[in-house]
Amino acid sequence: MIFQSLDFLIFLIVVFCAHWLLPWRLRNLFLVAASYFFYGYVHPWFLYLLWFVTIAVYVCALAMDTWTAHRRAFLLLGLTACLGMLGVFKYFNFFADNFIAAAARLGVELSQPAVRIALPVGISFFAFQGMSYLIDVYRGDIGARRNFADVALFKAFFPQLVAGPIERATHFLPQIERRRELRTEACLEGVLLMIWGFFKKLVIADNVSVIANKVFALDNPAFPLLWAGVLAFCVQILADFSGYTDIARGTAKLFGFDLIENFRHPYIASSPVDFWRRWHISLSTWLRDYVYIPLGGNRGSRLFAARNVMITFLLSGLWHGASWNYVLWGGYWGILIVLYNNFTDFAPRWISNDRLLPLKVLLMFLLTNLGWLLFRETDLAQLGRDLATAPAAATPLEWQAGLYFVCLVLIYSLPLIAHMCLDRIRARASDRFAAAGFDSLAIRSAASMALFGGILLLRAASSADFIYFQF
């Protein structure tokens, strides 16, 4: 089921009412059933995978707690179940295709496998969430849960099941276990957050995606068109993914849960490290805590630290999709971070001057856009041609069209920019902000009314699936 459908609206209303009418002991069980219905709505067979991972994670965690001498073995078993499922359903086609291509280069002709494996939505998200639970139990950060419904809900809670945020057991399981009360203000907060999320998806992402899709469908886009398309994609992916997260967080609030925040205005990042503190926070912290730090982090030589960064980011790229362009994208960010880390150690002091901040943000934004080109262009040969496209080769009409698309993207981005500015002001002067009444219910409701009206008036003619569903 997708958020931007009437089916979801009806589902949400029914589940919300039933959830709060049920005795509290039954609520988690009911949410598990509702989440399975949500996930299996279009393709019921996807549920088998979810059940497989849930049972594997539940059993292995319990076994770790029970047979402590064999903790490591059970951890490995659980991780193998999660990674094995990912390997088969997400990476099998990729590795098979590359293996066949490599063999062909060596003169060995191999036939394509008889079956192509369909990628179930959200598989990377729930696999990573399951692994985090296992590792946390192994490390002793939390105890293994005996109540199967609690673990099942942690794995399958429908708002964040298909595209995150990737919740941690330490953060989410206590919320599942405590008795949740229906709080009016939390529900209202949830609705406001959902409206903002829907606005980002239906108005901003879907409208600018038309430009990005047009440009990336071109055989050899001219320089101005290409970069207008990249800018459009840059806005699209933020609005799309953060929109999804806001809808998920808003929906979770209706049921008394708080999901972690996934985005903090990533396009005002002033460095690559800063960007990853703001972009897809739940994934970057996951990789940091379960990959980068266990690898050794930045302890040791520069080379050792650089190796750890590169491994982490290459994995991050591969997590996004079974395609070389994602690996390239991950490698690109790894290199940026390695360069940045080494540069900051030797950079002159004036570089850290606050007055240079706008320049740093601009540079970072340009580098981010270059990254999005690697991310969006799945054909590496075309990517090479894109990077070699010269500005001088463009015609005046192409420049005009490029400029027009940039202006259109900027117009659609205005609400994002306004939100970012408001958030900055609020963070710096929260007391004065509150005193001025900007945080009042009336102002927030009026803003949400405008956003809802905006959805009705400006939403795109058609809405595509959320980009991160495919990961």
Binding site: R183, T184, D258, I281, N298, R444, L457
Partner: protein
């Protein structure tokens, strides 16, 4: 990640931030008032007095001015296949009128026939209606949202036949979507709002100012012609998915709820020959696109019904002259083949042009 050698502290930061943004405890009636304000206020806007978009008589005026003998009704299938200049060269100036809109399906075609063609002062001799597969009996296909407003603009206040067919054919989701449209008629201003933003974006781009209301993006259509596209698989996949969705169709069950009988009656009463032209789906390298047995049965029944009721029917499926190289994306014909496709049409249906 470089300076992050300790475990996540972001979650704590985030909790502090969330705490700051949290709404203070409020009474339920306050929340209800806020929700009412958010969801009711946009519904108060009415674009027109009784909600319906006004009838767009521009095609009717053009038909009256042209006094064409041959009218073609359809969507992009028609636009990419029939070239007006070629028709004029063959049949004479003002011989024909092409009445099309992007994404039009049977409801729009019914309204175009009823309120533009038959309502015109000069009645054409023949009207050709282009369609694909089972769409003639899929009344609700492309009838909501922006497509719905196109139909509304071709409708008068009272359209009993259209209303009946829609009511009988809508699924509960389609009905709910339609009802939400009635609840929030502000949505009918979407095109205006989108135009306004596009116009604003294009205001200072280029050497001359674009008059308000003119779609700016259309100036750049040439840059995005289908011939410039890198591949067409995506469009084809999409077309295939849509095709499969409509394959399982029972002609006998659908017919009474469709607008097809009404179209035939309207044409008969007006003394117009109505010819239904089934366009060929994009063929494969091996030949015509495969058809399911249900579809073959459906088309046979459709043909028998149309011919039995005095209409014409022609099916381009399997035409040996329409091979894969004529096609671009989905079922569209390449622009360079448009004239040849028109010639082919004239040859195949020459009996109607005497």
């Amino acid at each position: 990640m470089a300076d992050l050698d300790q475990r996540s502290s972001l979650i704590e930061d985030e909790e502090q931030r969330a705490e700051r943004l949290r709404i203070k405890p409020i009474r339920p009636f306050m929340a209800a008032a806020a929700l009412l304000m958010i969801f009711v206020t946009p519904g108060l806007y009415r674009p027109t007095l009784h909600g319906k978009l006004p009838f767009d008589g521009h095609a009717l005026d053009e038909i009256n001015a042209k006094r064409a003998d041959y009218v073609f009704i359809g969507n992009s299938m028609l636009r990419t296949r029939i070239d007006e200049a070629t028709l004029q060269a063959r049949l004479g100036k003002n011989c024909c009128y092409i009445l099309w809109t992007g994404g039009a399906e049977s409801a729009w075609e019914h309204q175009a026939l009823k309120n533009d063609v038959i309502a015109s002062v000069h009645r054409p001799k023949v009207v050709f209606v282009f369609f694909r597969d089972t769409y003639l009996t899929q009344v609700t296909y492309r009838s909501n949202d922006a497509y719905g407003w196109k139909i509304e603009r071709l409708s008068h206040d009272d359209e009993p036949e259209l209303t009946r067919a829609m009511r009988e054919s809508r699924t509960w989701q389609e009905q709910l979507e339609y009802d939400l449209g009635l609840l929030y008629p502000i949505q009918k201003r979407r095109e205006v709002a989108t135009y306004a933003l596009e116009w604003l974006a294009g205001l200072e781009v280029g050497s001359e100012r674009v008059p308000y209301g003119m779609p700016v993006a259309s100036r750049y259509n040439d840059l995005f012609e289908l011939g410039q596209m890198k591949n067409i698989e995506t469009a084809d996949d999409f077309a295939a998915a849509a095709r499969d969705r409509f394959f399982n169709d029972d002609f006998d069950a659908r017919l009474p709820h469709s607008l097809l009988p009404s179209m035939l009656n309207l044409a008969k009463d007006a003394g117009i020959t109505l010819v239904f032209v089934r366009v060929q789906r994009r063929p494969t390298l091996q030949g015509p696109a495969p058809q399911s047995p249900q579809l073959t049965r459906y088309v046979a029944k459709l043909r028998a019904y149309l011919i039995g009721n005095g209409a014409g029917f022609y099916d381009f499926t399997g035409d040996p002259e329409l091979t894969l190289d004529h096609y671009l994306d989905g079922d569209h014909i390449r622009p360079e083949w448009k004239a040849a496709s028109t010639e082919l049409f004239l040859r195949r249906l020459q009996g109607y042009f005497k």
